[in-house]
Assembly symmetry: C2
Homo-oligomer: 342 residues x 2
Amino acid sequence: MPVTIKDVARAAGVSVSTVSRALAGPELVSPATRERVQRAAAELGYQPNRAARGLITGRTGNIGLIVPDLANPFFPGVVKGMQARAREADFAVFVADTDEDPAVEVALVRQLAKQVDGMVIASPRMSEDELRAAATETPLVLLNRRVGRIPSVTVDNVDGMRQAVAHLVALGHRRIGYVEGPRTSWANRERLRGLRAAISATADGGADVELTVLGSFLPQFEGGVAAADLAVAAGVTAVIAYNDLVALGLLNRFVARGIDVPGQISVIGCDDIVAAAMVHPPLTSIALPKEQTGRAGVDLLLALLKNSGRSAVSTRRELPAHLMVRRSTGPAPTAPAPTDLP
Amino acid sequence: MPVTIKDVARAAGVSVSTVSRALAGPELVSPATRERVQRAAAELGYQPNRAARGLITGRTGNIGLIVPDLANPFFPGVVKGMQARAREADFAVFVADTDEDPAVEVALVRQLAKQVDGMVIASPRMSEDELRAAATETPLVLLNRRVGRIPSVTVDNVDGMRQAVAHLVALGHRRIGYVEGPRTSWANRERLRGLRAAISATADGGADVELTVLGSFLPQFEGGVAAADLAVAAGVTAVIAYNDLVALGLLNRFVARGIDVPGQISVIGCDDIVAAAMVHPPLTSIALPKEQTGRAGVDLLLALLKNSGRSAVSTRRELPAHLMVRRSTGPAPTAPAPTDLP
DNA sequence: TTGAAAGCGATACCAT
DNA sequence: ATGGTATCGCTTTCAA
């Protein structure tokens, strides 16, 4: 039999209204009664019933999080960040996995919407229209995607690609391949855009770099395995993959075919999942701030909830990406000796 | 403005009680009214408010899941299985991560308990007493651990180890090392027990196998890296690790030191995480049925909830483990040639 | 078979 | 500053 607000009221010798006030806004009651109430509550181990509170306030104290695939090591990091931040704000987090299926995603949003005050969708796979529709039904924050004025947290993919290209070009690479992920992935499009921008900027700088786009492939290990042979056939000296899982697949296939990395070909991934540092050779990767992305997502959502009703605050946060150089990238096989460089 | 039961009642021309009945137990109302009510509900898109329902029924429709570390690829599999099963039963899942900290675990259980009908704790790190206490506060199911009569889903670790040892012995290994995980881990103790049993059984069979226990180490990549040198110094020809993350650490360090796997030393992990097949050489691992474990956990919990109040049903399920042989295990370096075998 | 009404636990408004 | 009370949306007696 859980202790209710009545029990506390009786114990403190006040009315339930007073208890409610003493606990919610300490400045609404006299210091003396506040003291008594708080002690009584503590002694009885009183915990407000969230369902009852939600019934009248219209708030559940829950937020939802939807991710495409928990098995992709990128997302647990995001989940951790979200939970940490949500807990600080006294919110609980529902997590749901869509198995990369846009239809499941749409269904889950609708189902979850009733049970939460708002939700965060990480790397949404559904269409822009569907997202816009969802945003009208429930406060919504997007991670790794921008759609209209829906609040979002993104990473500077374009700059990440700039760093990767600069690194490769400095190593003497002139023929670079990119292994595409899902076309429905906003990040994929952004990365491709960043890549093209970086390469044309390089052209202005004098170096003549050629980009070969391969794909699209599954954003998983298997996708990389499949892409590896195409990369070799394309004659590139370096490959940048949509994400680390794909890069790991590339690495694996190259090793299996006896192709030396980075001796014959360099590989760069994206996300910097833990496994990137665990393979041999360790994978150079564009690190995205996973936990920070999660935290920022909750931050935006909380801001949204506070302003709910008032003029739609549309907020965006863009986080920086950082290239983690490891041993999977090295000098281009046909690169001129350092002394020959201009 | 969400549609409530009143709206449905008005639309169907009946009282709210009738609506409630028509939707809950169709046999409680006349077929005609049931039909009308259901159509009205469908047309209005009525979704019962779970908070309101929970207030009176005392049920939230939520279940909680606590895991030590979402970043350990073993757990996302479990989470996926749980969610799938929970969704079938129309339950939502709260997920919380403890960062392997027993204290956090205890705190989370207490906090979550108020918001759920029951909870599942995967690989609990807290003490038996704490678990027993938790079990009295809320319906509880344990994954990968057995404590008293608390319902649990476990994997047959002992048999898994038997398979691993049999595999190694067949390859000619006689000096085997085990890298321990956390001493607070039930699975660790079970695996050690299974290992010892398998080895003494082998002794009865004539082969004289020696076990060297190393550790304990962090159940992570870094733990394996640290353990690798000890394994080499101990002169074992094969190492079995507490889990795949540790095994990957071993593998990595062996390669870094120029020690050939499996030429000079064989490595076996546990869990069969996806990364196991992604490294080079691919890791032989004892596969645990991750999703099935999650599903079974929810099954047990649902059964518990149904019987709540009645005599404590204590149930256990034990799932089988399967050795996945890959290239990280091979003949022992000093093994006699196949023709010399008896 | 159906309707009216009493709560579930908390908050918020209206008095005092 | 505090108490009484209506109320949130729903389920569940109790009568009819």
